[in-house]
């Protein structure tokens, strides 16, 4: 009696007309121990279904994306780049100022040298004045 029922269900099953409940009956029958010999080939099929049902996803799921890490990395990199460009610019400005300073220093040096020459010459003039005074005595006032 039961066997006839199973055969009828199998027929429906192959035509995809069974309900979930009916398929469960078939499943129970074929994973049980007394499968009729002429239906043995279905045994593997239903066993496969029930083992497949038990397959699990065993890894843990990560919700933090690695992409966001890349975003932060790029932000950090751009900050570093900005800072280094800025300091490089500062250095260059400093070097420029230094060079200017040296140049002015040199210019002042030259100026003072030439001024000194002038004072020496003035000293000489002074001497001339004295001697001319000695030679041509100025009338007393």
């Amino acid at each position: 009696m039961e066997l006839a029922n199973i055969e009828r269900l199998l027929e429906k099953y192959l035509n995809a007309e069974t309900s979930i409940a009916e398929e469960q009956i078939l499943n129970d029958y074929f994973t049980g121990n007394n499968v009729a010999q002429h239906l043995e080939e279905y045994e593997a099929l239903f066993c496969y279904f029930s083992t497949s049902k038990n397959e699990r996803f065993t890894k843990s799921i990560q919700l933090k994306s690695e992409k966001s890490n890349w975003k932060w990395l790029s932000i950090a990199a751009s900050v570093v780049l900005l800072v280094s460009v800025y300091t490089g610019y500062e250095r260059k400005q400093e070097a420029k100022a230094e060079a200017l300073y040296q140049e002015t220093q040199m210019a002042f040096g030259l100026l003072s040298q030439n001024l000194n020459k002038g004072t020496v010459a003035i000293g000489q003039l002074d001497q001339i004045q004295k001697t001319t005074n000695k030679i041509f005595k100025q009338p007393e006032k």
Partner: protein, 169 residues
């Protein structure tokens, strides 16, 4: 939506997602990657999740689409799938251990079906979804699903009988 709340809604069907991905992509690693990727996507769209009546169906559809995309890009880059290392290592049914060989045969038979039939077999015979649900998931008519399912089941049956007779004789 908080993380704990999110996980509560989406984790119950992670195995289903994984199994569908594995059915379509064949390799376990690929399926694991796909599952991971899918959950990342869900997490990113967590605000919209509340608007869906059936998150599971939504996730399954996403899985299907994602797997199809993967398969397409694989074909484009001429990669072939190798699945020689399948073992029926779920020995929960100890008494059926002698069947293991033919059980892995079933796996191969299903793998040889067209993608659509494979997916329908997976959703119906393994995940036990109703026809309307499958119809929604795959964006097909329920009658078309019945036809495809019937075809798939009959193909498997014929192959199994052929193998069975071969084993007997």
């Amino acid at each position: 939506m908080k993380q704990s709340e999110f996980l509560e809604t989406v984790l119950p069907f992670k195995d289903k997602v994984f199994r569908l991905a594995k059915r379509l992509l064949v390799s376990v690693e690929e399926a694991e990657d796909a599952t991971q990727e899918l959950y990342m996507k869900l997490w990113k769209n967590k605000k919209q999740i509340q608007n869906y009546k059936n998150v599971e169906a939504f996730a399954m559809t996403m899985t299907k689409n994602y797997c199809f995309d993967r398969l397409k890009s694989k074909q484009a880059s001429n990669l072939t799938l190798v699945h020689s290392n399948y073992e029926a290592n779920e020995t929960s049914l100890q008494r059926k251990i002698e069947l293991n060989d033919s059980v892995s045969q079933v796996h191969k038979l299903i793998d040889n079906l067209p993608e659509q039939q494979r997916m329908i077999i997976q959703l119906r015979d393994i995940e036990q979804y109703e026809f309307d649900e499958i119809a929604k998931l795959l964006n097909m008519k329920p009658t078309a699903i019945r036809v495809a399912l019937s075809r798939a089941r009959k193909t498997i049956k014929e192959q199994l009988i052929k193998q069975h007779n071969y084993g007997v004789s």
